[in-house]
Each structure stands twice: as structure tokens, then as C-alpha cells.
Symmetry: D3
Subunit: 131 residues, 6 copies
Amino acid sequence: MFGVTVRDHMMVAHSFRGEVFGPAQQLHGATFVVDATFRGEALDADGILVDIGRATEVLKAVVGELSYRNLDDDPAFAGTNTTTEVLARHVADRLAEQVAAGAMGAAEHVNGIVVTLHESHVAWASYERSL
Amino acid sequence: MFGVTVRDHMMVAHSFRGEVFGPAQQLHGATFVVDATFRGEALDADGILVDIGRATEVLKAVVGELSYRNLDDDPAFAGTNTTTEVLARHVADRLAEQVAAGAMGAAEHVNGIVVTLHESHVAWASYERSL
Amino acid sequence: MFGVTVRDHMMVAHSFRGEVFGPAQQLHGATFVVDATFRGEALDADGILVDIGRATEVLKAVVGELSYRNLDDDPAFAGTNTTTEVLARHVADRLAEQVAAGAMGAAEHVNGIVVTLHESHVAWASYERSL
Amino acid sequence: MFGVTVRDHMMVAHSFRGEVFGPAQQLHGATFVVDATFRGEALDADGILVDIGRATEVLKAVVGELSYRNLDDDPAFAGTNTTTEVLARHVADRLAEQVAAGAMGAAEHVNGIVVTLHESHVAWASYERSL
Amino acid sequence: MFGVTVRDHMMVAHSFRGEVFGPAQQLHGATFVVDATFRGEALDADGILVDIGRATEVLKAVVGELSYRNLDDDPAFAGTNTTTEVLARHVADRLAEQVAAGAMGAAEHVNGIVVTLHESHVAWASYERSL
Amino acid sequence: MFGVTVRDHMMVAHSFRGEVFGPAQQLHGATFVVDATFRGEALDADGILVDIGRATEVLKAVVGELSYRNLDDDPAFAGTNTTTEVLARHVADRLAEQVAAGAMGAAEHVNGIVVTLHESHVAWASYERSL
């Protein structure tokens, strides 16, 4: 099993609904350092699972749609807390769409994606899905 | 599959029995940077797998029981080398007890725990178990 | 010259005024991983420059005043962009007040403070001042 | 499931064939920070999966065979791009040979290896295999 | 005193002349993770020392001139070993030219630059100069 | 001004005398990740300030004298708490002796040393001295 990971980041504002969140119910924000891992069982004829350059560009586009925004105003997340877990799944699902749409080239052997969002040096969350 | 990780650390003294350990047979010590990952297939109604705040508190309590101590004197480890592997399992088992006891709230979807102990910038060990 | 550093973090929302900021003029947010360094020429009788435990508590209190908030609503920053540089200076100044007020004990040899705020894995800013 | 990881690094020159690689078709180089993880279900009588000291030595020897060289001149890689994925597999296979040859002692419970090669702070690749 | 740092990286091949270099006399390579710090005593009216976005672009351009190349073939380094120290100075000098040429905007308060090149997780070199 | 840094680590047991230390008055331990920086204004004819290979060996020897031991039993520290600050100064002084003794070759331009000891991911101390 191979895995290839690229890293980028996004800076967002948001607030959470639910007593469990304590002070995080107030409008606050986060830098999410985002690691996107593409997984697969084999390499292509060039000796790669995915092109790291294209993977970097696709991840940059996906996190760019969220960055420098207040996620409380984003209809895509209406009625949903944009927790680290939810955002990890969102980024993974958007990357899966991009792979399916050919944005990363053939990427014929990619069969899974893992996205990890680091919200600080002491907390992070990830979401793993097949393709 | 979701995963949520929180990080803390502990500082302990200990020694090992067995020629394989070389100079580590002498009384020495370590800082273990501890990463505790909670895993599960779904999120609760708040959009979280576990409350990061409560997970942080529970991990702090578990590593606090070990920290600032000489583990050679701890009856819980009598007859056992407190290697990084053994301590990773110990912390994971204690966290599993805490989850079962409700210390992290409902945490209804948590079905696995991974604990990684970093003993230096060039060596670490982990233990993974189901719940 | 000795230096002792402790690390914590804060999560804030804010927006910037000025064309130079591009998309960061929108309401967004950041996690700032905060490193506070205390400097001095000598150690006290216990062999320390500052008590790392107390330094950790004081830093936690200072960043706690800013965390989980929208800094655009904070009168302390009215008319000022809360850039990484400005926040680094703010934290350093607040820490200096705490040292002067005895919050860190005698700390008799501390004569300088450096605060570094990491806004992502690829950008950070610092402010250094004497006491 | 236990895992034990040791880290080392290697510095190599190489070039890639294939338009997908863009400027990396030119002779260039990389530092690969190499993480080698040994996995297994149980610990031995000493309380370890593998001896971290021996694992460190074996990894050092394996990466030492590649380091400070131009991999374009290495017959072992003739006709193959020495991408991060290919090198991760190469290191994992060499480590598996070493374990089988007894270089790490009994290591009776080791049943899998994961090798991760970090080519920069924003990109890495891994290869996982059973033993 | 303020400092603002941005990080990028470059991947190069090179070899060294001189017995002191041992195996590094052979053609090999390195990833250099490059931290560029801009220093100054005051902030501008926007509350910044430099625009982090522009600093990132300027650093990317400067390291881009060196990346994906064999530095042994670069006339700029004829007769000079491209050690980590030499490359740190080279990048700092090129950044200083860019600041002087206005590539980073007014940057009126910038009076010093520090460049650190990380050649691995266990070795790095820096060069500090005034402007 | 140039700086060259190499990193190693040591694992020790110790205890502290003084109420300020709270639970750290008990026998405990630490991994110290040690960064040794050599500073100087110029490079030698080879284009280096110090040989990174030799610096690595010298640092390894110096931290090796302390590692895998209980520092409470070391006569060199009798009557002194082996705090992170004290150990940083000790390592810096030992490295200065080694440079003076020629252990790192000519190293003619080295005029300062900074040693940083990381006791965890959230606390570190440093000592800086001239040569």
C-alpha cells in the first residue's frame, strides 16, 4: 500500500452551537494545517501514485474555497457545526470529487483519501474514505 | 472513519532489565510526548466524535498519574519493563476505561484508540486497540 | 544569556482594513501557537531563570483573555489591525506587566521577553522587548 | 497492534524521466527524512517489539547505502524513476530483508513495516508491507 | 524589535570539494527548508512590518531560481562550495536586493534579514545581515 | 553572522530541591532534545563555519556523557539542581572546551555557542555564550 501526502493550510472564522463547546460557542477562528493523503496499491508507469505537483495544486484550490472566510455564512454548512471532524470530511469529499473529475490526471491507482486537519500543536482530526 | 487526536506529555524515571537494553539498564528517564487518538465511524448530533476539551482533560489526568515519578517504584509495573511500547498500551488501556466510565461524555461512536509515545525526535512507539 | 520558553495557543476571529491584506480583509480567523521566551543573564539560587510551571500558567492566562473571541469587537484593538506582529507585541507587553506584578514570583533576573506567534506552518512573527 | 518507529535521513541526487515531472526532469536532489515503523501484535519477554537501538542501526545502514550518491547512476534503479514512492518501497523491502536475516535480533512478533519518506515540510510518501 | 518569517523549500543537487566533506564530495543532493526572517523596529500604518503574502512570493521566486537544479553547473557559484552556510548567505543577499528593489512594497522599517536553511531534521545553518 | 546547528538528544533521571518545583522534587526524568549552534562572522576556505559531521560527533560525545544516567548521582552537579537552564549551560561549556581543544578542527571563526534543550513540545531553555 502506497500513500502520498501534501500539506497546505486555511484560516477561517466560525462559531459552534451546543453547550459542549463552552467558549467556542462564541465567534472565533482557526488556522487548519491540512494534510491530504492519497492511497493506492500500485504505482503508474512513471513510478508515482499521484503527481505531487498536481496534488498540491488541487489541495490548494480546495482549501482556497474555505480560507479567509466566516464559515457561519456558508450555505454549504447551514445547520452543521464546522468542527474539525466535519471540515476534514468536507475536504476529503471535495478532493474525491476532484480525483474523479480528472483534476489530478489519471491517478488510476488511487483508491482512498485521508485528510487530517491540525487545529493547533496539541489537537487534530482526520477523516478517511475510499474512492 | 474519523479520528480525533490530543497531545500531552509526561516526564518519568525508570530503568530496564535485560542485556538488550545496554546503558538503558541504568536508572535514566524520558519525556514522553503522548498523542491519544479516538476513532469512530460517525459523528454525534453536535458534529463531533469526542469533545476535544474533555479528551484533553482525560488525557491530562491519565498521564498525570505517571508523571514526575520513578516508574521502577510503581506496583502496577512490577516485573515489567516500562518500555515505550508497554507505556503506550498502559495509557491506551486507561483511556479505554475512562471512555467506558463516561469520563468523555456519551462518546457513543468511539470504537478504537491509538496511543503514540514519542520518546525523542527520532523514536516513538504506538499501541492501537478497539473499545 | 539564558532563555526559557513556554508554548500555548489561542484561536481568534478578526478582519483587517487595508488593500494590502487582499482576502484577509474579510472576517476570517487563526490559531496562533504562542512561544513566550523569558531572558536573563543569571539564574536564581534554585538554578532557574523562571519557574516553567508558573510561566506556563501566566502565558495561559494572557492568551486566554484573547482566545475564542472576535478581536474586531475588542476595544483594546479599536482602530488597529490585529496582525500577527501587533498581537505578538500585545502578548509580550501583557507578559511584561505580569512579571512586574510578581505573577511569576521573584523572577529577579528576567530582563527581556520575546514572543513568537505562529499563524501557520509557513509564517510566524515575533516581538522582542526589554523589561 | 504495536508499532515502533525510528527516524534517520539521506541526501541524494537524481532526475526523473516523464513530462509529468516538469522541472524535476533536471538533475536535482533531496533530503529524505526517513521514518521506519515496525508493526506486530505482541511484545517479547523484555517488553519490546524491537530493540530501538538495533532498529536505529539497521535503518542507518540501509539509508547509508543510498546517501551521498546520484541515484541516476545506481544499477538497482536502472529504468526506474527514483520517486519518493519508489524509494519508500525500496527502503521497506531492504528493511524486511534485514529483519528476515536476523539483523534486528529475534524480532519474532514483527509482521509489518511502514516506511515514510519526507521530501519536504509539505510533501511525503509512504509504503506499507507485511513481512 | 519585530520579526516576520515565511517558509519555503528548494531541492538541489551539488557536490563539495575538500577532504573535510568525506562522502559529500560525491554528487548528492538536499532539500533545504528555507526560513526567511525580516526584522525591523517599527510597524507601518497597516500594523505590519512586511506583507506576509508578498514576502512569501518574493521568497518563492528567490528559491525558485535555485530549485530543481545541479548547483555545480551554476556560474554564480563557480569556485565556491554551495554549503548550507553559503546558500543561506546567497538567499539572504538576494532577498536584500529584492527589498531594496521594492519587490516587497515600501517595507520602510525592514533593517535586517535572517535566512535559515534546514538541510535535515538534525542540521541547519543561518546567515544574518543588515539592510 | 553565520550559525550552524546540529541536534541530538539525551535521556536522564533527576530530582530537584526547592518548593518551587512541586512534584518535580520527586525523582523523575526527561528526554532533552539538544540543539547546539556554533556562531561566527566568516567562513573558512571550504565555505563552512564548522564541519557539520564533526559538530555532530562532538555533540554526540558531550550528551553521551550525561545520557542514560541519574544526574542526582553525578558529582559534577553536587549541590546544584540540574534544571534545563543549568544543563544547557553545562552542555555549552563542554562544547566550548571541545572547540578550544581542537575537537572540531580549526573552527577558526567560531566565536559563540548557543545550546537549547527542549524538555517537551511546550517548554525549552537555552544558554548563549562567547568563546
